[in-house]
């Protein structure tokens, strides 16, 4: 269960109480993760994700990333989540032209270096899915005739006009809707075949938002656009291009963790200021995040960034970033990595240029000693624990085309460790990569062809610098003429010595999408050599080749989503390994989200098979592990809204069954999970939730090292909001309790643990819109039985939006 508190919805009498649909209930031991999955997202450009984590593990969380993709994509994209107190949140930008299933999971990284996926077993055996109901939105093709966005007009002279000549044949103009703020003004619209207009006699002073929605003859939304203007008193009408706007937010938070009944006590303090504004065609913004967890011996925790952007005309702009950023140039060269430095983008549509330079790893000194070699008498460094070298990257990407129907891009990246940045480090690396990518969209992007081809040079240890070829040939035997030519070419870009890969690494990907008749057919073929590296892409699965074919179908007016797919990948591309491992994955998801008030249903089946060609009784099996396993998971979820005793209720049920069979019995496992919950909204600002969770897991039960875990828990929560106590303020109070019983059995120790796990949290939030909000929270985790201790986390937080 999760209760979402937001100041922005201050006027709402009832805050949102969301449902727990997550699996499993816990992360690592002592970490409570609460997440409410959005089952369906309609016509939205963003998927909001939010985790609430109560961390009693003793090791604070360094970072949480969400990895996400459309189910027919082969690659996950990573994005760091923002953090405010217990909340970790991100808004995933979706492809607005694509209807389908978005799959995602989270990676939680701790300060102690550990990390874990959430949900457990992700992404192979468990993953979150959200159905995206997305018609292609032609909103950008709507011409805002009047009033111009963000202008000031006389309250008596407001004429709202927008045209859509470019796609007027698709529009059933009689179904057009226009909203002035929350007021539906559709019936006042003068409607023509390619534009609509509305002239209110007078609008109230102040800022107003217009939303235009255009529908086709099937009543499907095909275009929407929003814009704002400010109504001024009639005699002070001014052109407002020069108006200066600034907004932002600030928070400060203090948290104390008292774990294992006082055995470990730690304080965590953090604060952040972020702002954005615009002046005429100039936009700017910045963010500073400070934490007391910032330490010289770790990677960056604090974050600083700022940007300015100047718009020329029609979305052509130049943008400069300084500080921390995640540049996204090309999926196999530069993506998913934090760069502290500078970014610049010039976007002219017909030609664009992106540039990035900065540090991706800060230097962290290792441990070691300096010895004198008895034979030579020279000093030498002995590394006992290698540190981290400072790593810099430089990337540049010219591209041609706006990307609507055509774009050709070229990406170059150079990355290198600074060998002088630390003393005790091993194997500083250097890399250069270059690639070309092409995007072609045809028939209003119903047919999309995109691909990229990349090549890299990689040196796994540049300590000592470049070695002359003559010296190299004395170290490495049988260097071919081709390898010599490659060496001579590559040494112009990176350090060339005996650790240089003497052949370029190749990586390529081709993707074809065809969207007709409510089908979205997707075929991807890709290959990444084992020798392909890019220091700008840390999450690359190398030595991997295969294909993925899938079809997303939306049926019955977007009420039914059917997703079928098959993936097959294998490694050992260069035949350098003893075995070749092949992964096969079949998946089927079907979801029904009715337009009327009927239960929503989702059913998913996933089969994953991994095998290599090594028999268990072969000699090779002594050195290498034979693999042949099958993982099957079936999940079912349903939800239904109903009124009972005049109260609004929503009941949800989630069932998941997971089975893994393996030629090695100790790797076999199974898990069954059931969660049932009921949420009720009362006529007063009161919400309640009750839930019941049952989970049974077994691992290697047929072996002497088997274990099992049984969990039964019952939870209940209540939230009440007081409004207008002293002024236009609000106080919300939330309490939640979950009592559970766990039984763990470990065969190897011939022991079992039986204990009760009780979790309580209390939240109070008081807010006054003009002054901000103060939140207090207490989380208590109490164990009794074979485990007997308490964990406490207290926090206080102040937030202010401007």
């Amino acid at each position: 269960m999760k209760i979402k508190l937001t100041n922005k919805n201050f006027g709402l009498p009832v805050l949102v109480l969301a449902l727990l649909t997550s699996l499993p209930l816990f992360g690592r031991n002592g970490v409570d993760i609460q997440f409410d999955r959005v089952s369906i997202l309609k016509n939205s450009a963003y998927l909001p994700l939010e985790l609430t984590i109560s961390n009693f593990s003793g090791s604070s969380i360094r970072e949480i990333q969400v990895l996400y993709k459309y189910s027919d994509d082969s690659h996950f994209r990573a994005r760091s989540m923002n953090n405010e107190g217990f909340r970790y949140y991100a808004n995933l930008r979706l492809d607005q032209s694509e209807t389908g299933m978005v799959e995602y999971y989270f990676i939680i990284r701790y300060m102690d270096g550990g990390e874990e996926p959430f949900p457990g077993g992700a992404p192979l055996s468990n993953i979150y899915r959200t159905a995206v109901q997305q018609m292609r939105n032609y909103g950008d093709d709507i011409v805002i005739v009047n009033p111009d966005p963000e202008t000031r007009v006389s309250a008596n002279d407001v004429v709202i006009t927008a045209s859509f000549a470019r796609f007027s044949t698709m529009v059933d103009v009689e179904k057009s809707k226009m909203y002035l703020d929350t007021w539906d003004v559709s019936k006042y619209l003068a409607k023509f075949s390619d534009f609509v207009t509305f002239a209110p006699k007078k609008v109230p002073l102040g800022q107003h938002k217009i939303r235009l929605e255009l529908y086709d003859s099937n009543s499907d939304l095909i275009a929407s656009r929003e814009w704002s203007f400010t109504a001024t008193p009639p005699r002070v009408t001014q052109a407002s291009e020069s108006a200066f706007n600034l907004s932002g937010s600030f928070f400060a938070e203090a948290r104390r963790e008292n774990l294992r009944s006082g055995l470990s006590v730690a304080d965590y303090n953090q604060g952040a200021l972020q702002f954005q504004g615009n002046y005429s065609s100039l936009r700017f913004g910045g963010r500073a995040y400070l934490s007391n967890q910032e330490q010289i011996g770790r990677q960056h925790v604090n974050r600083f960034s700022g940007f300015v952007r100047f718009d020329f005309w029609n979305h052509r702009f130049i943008r400069l970033n300084a500080g921390d950023a995640y540049p996204d140039f090309s999926p196999l060269i530069l993506q998913n990595i934090l760069v502290r430095g500078g970014l610049a983008s010039l976007n002219l549509k017909f030609m664009n240029l992106d540039f990035a330079y900065g540090e991706t790893l800060r230097p962290v000194e290792g441990y070691g000693r300096t010895e004198t070699d008895t034979a030579s008498g020279n000093n030498r460094v002995v590394v006992e624990r290698g540190g981290t070298f400072k790593r810099d990257i430089l990337a540049i990407r010219p591209s041609f085309g706006a990307g609507d129907n055509f774009r050709l891009g070229l990406t170059f990246l150079k990355g290198a460790d600074d060998t002088s940045s630390i003393i005790y480090g091993t194997d500083p690396k250097e890399n250069a990569a270059a690639g070309a990518d092409l995007f072609l969209g045809m028939d209003q992007q119903r047919i999309v062809l995109q691909g990229n081809f990349n090549v890299s040079a990689y040196n796994r240890n540049i300590r000592g610098g470049t070695m002359a070829f003559d010296s190299l040939s004395s170290v490495i035997e049988d260097i071919s003429a081709g390898e010599k030519n490659y060496y001579n070419f590559v040494k112009n870009f990176i350090t060339a010595n005996q650790f240089l890969n003497l052949r370029p690494g190749l990586a390529y990907r081709v993707n074809i999408q065809v969207r007709y008749f409510r089908n979205n057919l997707n075929l991807t073929y890709e290959s990444v050599d084992e020798g392909y590296y890019s220091l700008g892409q840390p999450y690359l699965l190398r030595d991997n080749r295969g294909f993925n074919i899938s079809d997303n179908m939306t049926l019955l007016k977007n009420q039914v989503f059917l997703n079928l797919g098959y993936r097959q990948y294998h490694d050992n591309l260069q035949n350098l390994k003893t075995t070749t491992t092949t992964n096969r994955n079949i998946y089927v998801n079907i979801s029904y989200f009715p337009l009327g008030n009927f239960p929503e249903l989702s059913l998913a089946y996933n089969n994953y098979n991994r095998e290599n060609d090594l028999p268990t009784d072969s000699i090779g099996s002594i050195l290498y592990r034979p693999e042949n396993n099958q993982t099957n998971s079936i999940s079912f979820s349903t939800g239904y809204r109903f009124n009972f005793l005049k109260y609004k209720n929503r009941a949800g049920l989630n069932l998941t069954s997971y089975r893994r069979t393996d030629i090695y019995n100790y790797s076999e496992s199974s898990s069954d999970y059931m969660a049932l919950n009921v949420r009720t909204e009362y006529n007063i600002p009161l919400q309640t939730i009750i839930e019941f969770v049952l989970q049974q897991s077994e691992t290697g039960t047929a072996t002497p090292r088997g274990s099992s875990l049984d969990l039964t828990s019952f939870g209940g929560g209540i939230q009440y909001a007081f409004k207008n106590i002293l002024t236009t303020d609000q106080l919300s109070i939330r309490a939640y309790a979950q009592v559970g019983k766990l039984t763990s059995i470990y065969k190897i120790a011939s022991s079992s643990l039986n204990y009760n796990r009780n979790y309580f949290n209390l939240r109070a939030n008081y807010s006054i819109p003009s002054l901000g909000s103060i939140g207090l929270a207490a989380d208590i985790l109490s164990f009794s039985g074979d485990r007997n201790y308490q964990d406490y986390i207290y926090s206080a937080r102040y937030e202010y939006n401007f």
Binding site: V143, V145, D148, D157, A165, A190, D194, F195, R235
Partner: protein, 231 residues
């Protein structure tokens, strides 16, 4: 026999109806009035009687707009939001030829002053006067048609292609072209700043009367009346 007469009569009647339906194909809506100050009237072939124009009035191809003294009328074309500001004491006809997804525009200026501002132009944009035709792309300029037959163009931004029977000239930013007739090239010179019509925003020509009065509760209140004077 009566049937034959009836049939003979029906044929021309149907023919006339068909011709009139085809011939009177509804004009295309091309622009919207987004700002009015003072009194502005509109006429067209169907309605020769002047009709008052107000904010939000839709302009169809062929509509003729007439502004009075101290008046102003801003219209925006719906395909590309090109702005045409028709200043006081002006008469012009708006013509628009609707193509696939843009409008070829022609403003026939009989008298007075218009200002055109084209930002993301789609389709052709012409201003036709008794002496010349201006073809423009992405620019801002004034056209003033004097009662004595002369036409003055004042370039504010970008280029304007001017033509008449005598040939073509380019009008640049900061230049003024004055045509005396359709047979002669214009007199070209640098713009005298005093010649540029005021780009008036707000209630040009509007006046205010404020009357204080006391309401039944005894509170003093103020009534404000905004008005414009007829010329």
């Amino acid at each position: 026999m009566p049937e034959m007469i009836h049939a003979r009569l029906m044929f021309p009647v149907i023919l006339i109806i068909l011709i009139s339906v085809i011939g009177s194909r509804a004009a295309d809506p091309v622009a919207v009035v987004v700002k009015i100050i003072g009194r502005v009237e509109m006429t067209n072939d169907k309605s020769p009687k002047p009709e008052p124009v107000k904010n939000g009035t839709v302009i169809f191809s062929g509509d003729k707009l007439r502004t009075s003294g101290s008046s102003l009328c801003d219209i925006k074309f719906v395909d590309d939001k090109s702005l045409l500001r028709i200043k006081e004491n002006s008469v012009c006809t708006i013509e628009g030829d609707l193509e696939k997804d843009f409008i070829n525009k022609n403003i026939i200026l009989e008298s007075g002053t218009v200002f055109a501002s084209l930002f993301k132009q789609r389709g052709q944009f012409h201003i036709t006067t008794p002496t010349s035709v201006a073809s423009v792309k992405g620019t801002q300029f004034y056209v003033i048609q004097f009662a004595d037959g002369r036409t003055m163009y004042i370039g504010i931004e970008g280029l304007v292609d001017l033509s008449n029977d005598a040939g073509r000239v380019l009008l640049r930013s900061g230049q003024t072209a004055v045509y005396s007739s359709s047979k002669e090239l214009p007199e070209m010179r640098l713009t005298n700043k005093e010649e540029i019509p005021a780009f008036t925003e707000g209630n040009e020509g509007a006046k205010i009367i404020e009357i204080e009065f006391r309401d039944p509760a005894g509170q003093v209140k103020k009534m404000r009346i905004d008005y414009t004077e007829e010329p």
